[in-house]
């Protein structure tokens, strides 16, 4: 590439001047910038729109309120934040309660590095927040407590402390670029890039990570470890895009950076939105942002579905699409976000494990109940079959033709004998409709108690014939 081509290409990169002049000024009105800068107000706006966000536990607006505050109201773990804080300043994360009270009978909690905090210490920190020590303008502020997000299993090995989050830049309702931000030792558990956090680019179509940067320099693994940063599949990718668009709608901002974390139990939750998103995301993605913004400028996108489609088509990688075009089959990974359709049109979106070693697809009992198959389980109870059987016991059941009686239930299409490491089990099979990627189809699945297992559903061979599996995804 000669210098002229380089210069022409460089004009597709979003610089500070263009960001402020062409995008923030005309699209992000002050009134709405103020809304996202006030974390309590914005949290309430999110809740009103049914967008998941860590629950507000309590807020403290004045010294009077602080002196009257009842510490018994606080749960075992929580996060304490300043409302107008920025860059992660003044945030205290409490991981659990200490068994013993202090000599004065106060409750005690434990924060990062095992440091203990008593009621008095929390009181002091709140008074610092009220004084405005951490606010953007050093003016008096409001302190608030919110639910602590628990780290998702697939991210546990990545973060030093704290929780990785996903930054999605949304412009004109369309997600244009995304990156995962990982807290490091250097960033002291905070995900902010300028504090030394890691930024990892994400392919918009698949939600798979690409390149990683730390302090704007490229890295392959998390420093000091052998953990690869490329090729990580972000779980709940579709839901994340969906939530990012809905959050952008709530902000009323044209250009916004939505920060989403993945809670172990609740799935994707919105942490906050940013009216002045940083530009380093371009380096992590090795892709220019201005070009993308120009592409979606002026597009009229009515539905969220269409916005997601556009984001994936316009800004996603093309490799998978090529394979799909040749084979007519979609490429899926080992963990897939799928949607199950229940008996009475209930919908459940879950993470399922793709297991080519399992002949049959199975789903968890509780999930089956949520999908309207409680009757099946009630019916099964009548036969008083033990969860784990020996080979003799199972042959006995077959000989007595118990399966005939079981299949009398209209929802049961068969009975499956499954061999596992513990022994044998006898399970009812139902027929369920599910959606994997863009494919909606029906499959047979046996019901099993999987409570102690990581995934509520295993997609076995019988459900996988229409897909190509890429274990890196």
């Amino acid at each position: 590439m000669n210098w002229l081509e380089a210069f022409v290409f460089s004009q597709k990169i979003l610089g500070m001047n263009a960001r402020n002049l062409s995008y923030i000024k005309p699209y992000n009105y002050r009134k709405w910038v103020k809304l996202v800068d006030n974390k309590i107000k914005f949290k309430k706006a999110l809740q009103q729109n049914n967008i998941p966000t860590p629950k507000l536990l309590a807020s403290i607006r004045s010294y009077e309120k602080l002196n009257d505050f009842d510490y018994n109201k606080l749960p075992k773990s929580f996060v304490l934040k300043p409302t107008s804080g920025f860059g992660g300043e003044g945030i205290v994360v409490i991981f659990g309660e200490h068994k013993k009270r202090t000599a004065d009978g106060e409750r005690q909690w434990v924060k990062t590095k095992g440091v203990k905090l008593s009621e008095t210490m929390i009181h002091n920190h709140i008074s610092n927040i009220l004084d405005g020590t951490y606010s953007r303008t050093n003016s008096p502020d409001v302190a608030f407590f919110e639910e602590r997000i628990k780290i998702n299993k697939s991210f546990k090995h990545l973060a030093y402390k704290g929780i990785p989050d996903i930054r999605v830049i949304v412009f004109n309702r369309i997600p244009v670029m995304a990156m995962m931000r990982i807290p490091t030792k250097e960033s002291d558990g905070k995900a902010n890039l300028h504090l030394g956090g890691i930024g990892v680019g994400i392919d918009m179509a698949t939600g798979v990570t690409t390149n990683a940067i730390m302090r704007e320099k490229f890295i392959d693994t998390i420093p000091g470890t052998k953990i690869n940063l490329a090729g990580i599949r972000i779980p709940y990718w579709n839901t994340i895009l969906d939530i990012a668009i809905r959050t952008a709608d709530v902000t009323n901002l044209g250009l916004t950076g939505v920060d989403i974390a993945i809670d172990r139990d609740a799935g994707p939750v919105v942490l906050e939105a940013n009216a002045r998103p940083g530009l380093a995301i371009q380096i992590a993605n090795l892709a220019p942002l201005k070009e993308r913004l120009q592409k979606v400028k002026g597009l009229k996108v009515k539905t969220i579905k269409r916005a997601i489609r556009l984001a994936k088509d316009l800004f996603g990688g093309e490799i998978e699409e090529e394979i799909e075009e040749i084979t007519g089959r979609q490429v899926i990974g080992l963990i897939e976000e799928i949607t199950l359709f229940g008996k009475d049109s209930q919908k459940q979106t879950i993470l399922a494990k793709v297991d080519t070693g399992a002949g049959k697809t199975s789903i968890d009992e509780n999930l089956a109940i949520e999908l309207g198959y409680a009757g099946v389980l009630e019916h099964m109870k009548k036969f008083k079959i033990k969860p784990v059987l020996t080979l003799d016991e199972i042959n006995e059941l077959s000989k007595n033709k118990v399966w005939q009686k079981i299949e009398e239930h209209p929802d049961i299409v068969g009975v499956s004998k499954v061999k596992s490491s513990h022994g044998y089990s006898y399970r009812p099979i139902i027929y369920i409709k599910l959606k994997v990627r863009d494919d909606i189809f029906g499959t047979k699945a046996n019901i099993i108690t999987r409570q102690d297992l990581e995934y509520q559903m295993i997609l076995g061979e019988n459900s996988l014939k229409r897909f190509i599996i890429d274990p890196r995804k």
């Binding site: 380089a6 290409f9 460089s10 610089g15 500070m16 001047n17 002049l21 704007e216 090795l286």
Partner: protein
């Protein structure tokens, strides 16, 4: 305009005063260009501007020395105060006061090295340089030591170039005899205010994206 300036000078307004007021837009334009085109952040616009004028008054060598000494003293004082739990404003008051007192040593150094220009310089010029300390400590608290040092260095570089411009007698005379030149400067500032292109520093920052293409 000549009549107006003549009138001022006849009534004991120093030429220096007129020069500084006339050069102000040019210096402001210079700092805007440095920010919008080159990408030098420094501490906003007023701090580098006022420090430029202070440098010109005290003399470049001593001005820069005071600049560096005051930042060093302020950092040390802040470091010593870090263990004491004390509110923001009182802490800043202590840091600024001790930095100001440290100027006695600078004066003694000035006496020993026979710099009459420095020793006789108006104390206000020296205090102006110390205003930088508040910005510096504030940046240290909010953005970390590294950023604070970078911003200070950028301010120093801007002020040094600014000092070069300020001491160019030809330019001073040009503006003094043709004050309408300022209108061109204003037009330039408006142009810079609408400049959407990448800053030079951004070509470096984003070089990997470009070379990856």
């Amino acid at each position: 305009m000549d009549i107006f300036f003549d009138y001022l000078i006849r009534n004991d307004v120093p030429r220096e005063t007129i020069d500084i007021l006339l050069m102000f837009p040019i210096m402001a334009g210079f700092i805007v260009a440095a920010r919008q085109i080159v990408g030098v952040k420094a501490f906003g616009i007023y701090t580098p501007l006022i420090i430029t004028f202070a440098l010109t008054e005290i003399g470049f060598k001593y001005g820069v020395s005071i600049f560096i000494v005051s930042l060093l003293v302020a950092s040390i004082v802040r470091f010593l105060l870090r263990k004491i739990r004390i509110l923001y404003l009182p802490k800043m008051a202590l840091i600024l006061s001790i930095t100001a007192l440290s100027m006695f040593f600078s004066l003694i150094w000035g006496i020993f090295s026979d710099s009459t220009m420095f020793v006789q310089a108006s104390i206000y010029q020296i205090l102006i340089i110390i205003t930088l300390v508040e910005k510096f400590i504030n940046a240290q608290m909010e953005k970390g030591y590294r950023t604070a040092v970078i911003l200070s260095l950028e301010t120093l570089i801007l002020a040094s170039f600014g000092n070069l411009i300020m001491t160019t007698t030809r330019l001073r005379d040009l503006v003094f005899y043709n004050p309408w030149v300022i209108l061109i400067v204003f037009a330039g500032i408006i142009f810079l205010g609408r400049y959407e292109g990448l800053r030079l520093s951004e070509y470096i920052r984003f070089r990997k994206i470009i070379s990856n293409q």
